[in-house]
Symmetry: C2
Subunit: 335 residues, 2 copies
DNA sequence: TTGTAGGCGTTATCAG
DNA sequence: CTGATAACGCCTACAA
């Protein structure tokens, strides 16, 4: 592989001049510039990123961390993030941490080792409910800017882009109530930031409409179709009644739809169902699932925009909120 | 950030010794080793990857290229690849190219620029049907080893890990035939490597069972649920008859299931449906979808294993074949 | 406009 | 076992 000396020699100029051409310095005569470029082309020269990084201490790379990139929502996010970063001239280092705190810590350290220019943490599942367990993130933020996507954490160098999860759930719950539903089941999978926001929205809507919150109607469960299906069937068999289900994940909603069939309930007549994320799954069920769309694309684009703004020394708000939208399909019936 | 000189100074040894400790060289006395380690710990020392890369010309990083990491199959693959690479001590550079040839070329060049140690190209959609359009990959393989996951290309430094797509489709088609189906529709989305392999399997099964291949029953279409649904309904309305559908993607199969409902056909009685990839979608439909599982996890693990073997100078076969398995659910009825 | 020389932080090759 | 010292390839004052 040719280096800057080869180019220098071949084109009869010094390495400094070659370097200048490489970096588009204005103080190089057109003639020498063309000559050098020609030689570079001829020899198939590519600058060595290590050498460059060594001096500049940057490699135009952003680390993306998520718990599990095979989760449909996160997969989408990772995709859009990568696309947007590239558009801004940055490459992506991907890192899937799983759900254990110690792993998250290890990976974060590892990724910092790689001298990334910034960090994007995707998904609220990366944040621990206990605030002191997130100290390692604050520590990281003292080295490079950290963007949280769908999660909020306060600290210097930490920025968040989030959906209005609370508002979205509150709004849809309210619409269910207005359509006559009184016993609305709420299913969620994690006590994570957005999980709690959504729950908050649910409770707010009930309260605003004078409905007492029934603990039996709020269920924390793993994110699994079959499991949800059995749980709901079980609850129904044991006498619990509900006329709507709001879920924090589309997967739960799929389970709910299947359970309805088991229980002989018609959708949306006997039971209305709302999912979250508006993923591909929403189009696969029968009837098709009404779901809250959290605009991953916008969310990702905003995260990248904010991060690159920070790189350029601009000041940006610590928290940016994106509105989400309800996509109505066949599992609900309200205006 | 402390460097090797700081450690050297503080611990009273030369940088050479520090470096030896860093790399676990055996010829360092236990005493000095401990002393150095203590200082490193105290100062929170992290070796600079750029400097290291500069000398070694490697950063223990593998580039992962795929067309679209939000595709459920590719998302899974990316996830498992990342996990496995990390297990072997490699980091992942992710690159989503989209489907245009020129972009693929650009990204490949870009990723090589980053001095990755190897390349994994995921999904047959990265390969062009026209062989000379894949020259850029062969070119890349002259620099670093290239692993193709679910695609085959011959050339020095190019290795493939693939499923037996042909065999899997052939087998399931044969079972449909044995169960009495005669007019089996075959839907596929791309003339890519695995797309053609699957088609080949379909044709082989027909031939082996003395059924003439009807061109009308083979359809190339975009990978979209709604579109598939309408196409099938349209075909049916216009008089085409079929009693089974084999699809190259689960998404197509979802469309087929919905179309069956539109047409008033019962599944699996009037119509049996088989999908491909055994993705989450297969669990969302009603009835649940029988699908061919191509063992992404095994596939990914194998790809990484092979690549790291190559790194270590081992000789590995140019092509490794993984068997896939049929997961029977409710859209088929055969033994 | 161009060239010279020093530095970035490691690793590796020699001597001791 | 340990220490000097020369690469590795690029960037950038500073000089010319």
């Amino acid at each position: 592989m040719p280096n800057i000396y080869d180019i220098s020699e071949r084109s009869g100029v010094s390495i400094a001049t070659v370097s200048r051409v490489l970096n588009g310095s204005p103080k190089v005569s057109e003639a020498t510039k063309n000559k050098v470029l020609a030689v570079m082309d001829e020899l198939g020269y590519t600058p060595n990123v290590f050498a460059r990084g060594l001096g500049l201490n940057t490699m135009n790379t952003v680390g993306i961390m998520c718990s599990d990139s095979s989760d449909p929502f996160l997969a989408n996010a990772v995709y859009y993030l990568e696309q947007n970063l590239r558009k801004h001239g940055y490459d992506s280092f991907l890192c899937c941490t799983g759900y254990e705190l110690q792993n998250k810590k290890n990976y974060l350290e590892l990724i910092l080792t790689k001298r990334v220019d910034g960090l994007i943490l995707v998904g609220s599942s990366l944040l621990e409910p206990n605030d002191e367990d997130n100290l390692y993130i604050k520590e990281a933020a003292s080295h490079v800017p950290v963007m949280l996507m769908n999660g909020v954490l306060k600290g210097a160098g930490i920025y968040s882009v989030v959906c209005d999860d609370c508002g979205a759930v509150s709004s849809v719950t309210e619409r269910l109530i207005k359509s006559g539903r009184k016993r609305i089941l709420y299913l969620y999978t994690a006590e994570s930031g957005s999980g709690l926001q959504k729950l908050k929205g649910y409770k707010e809507a009930l309260k605003a409409n004078g409905i007492k919150c029934d603990k039996d109607l709020i269920r924390l469960l793993p994110c699994d179709i079959e499991n949800t299906r059995h749980l709901l069937s079980g609850l129904y068999t044991s006498g619990l009644r509900f006329d709507a289900v709001v879920c924090s994940e589309d997967r739960l909603a799929v389970g709910a739809i299947k359970a309805a069939k088991d229980m002989g309930l018609s959708i949306p007549g006997d039971l209305q169902v709302v999912g979250y994320n508006n993923s591909l799954l929403a189009l696969c069920t029968d009837p098709e699932l009404t779901s809250i769309d959290n605009h991953v694309e916008t969310l990702s684009a905003t995260a990248v925009k904010c991060l690159t703004d920070v790189f350029q020394g601009k000041r940006i708000p610590a928290k940016t909120i994106i509105q989400n939208a309800l996509v109505q399909r066949e599992t609900t019936r309200f205006q």
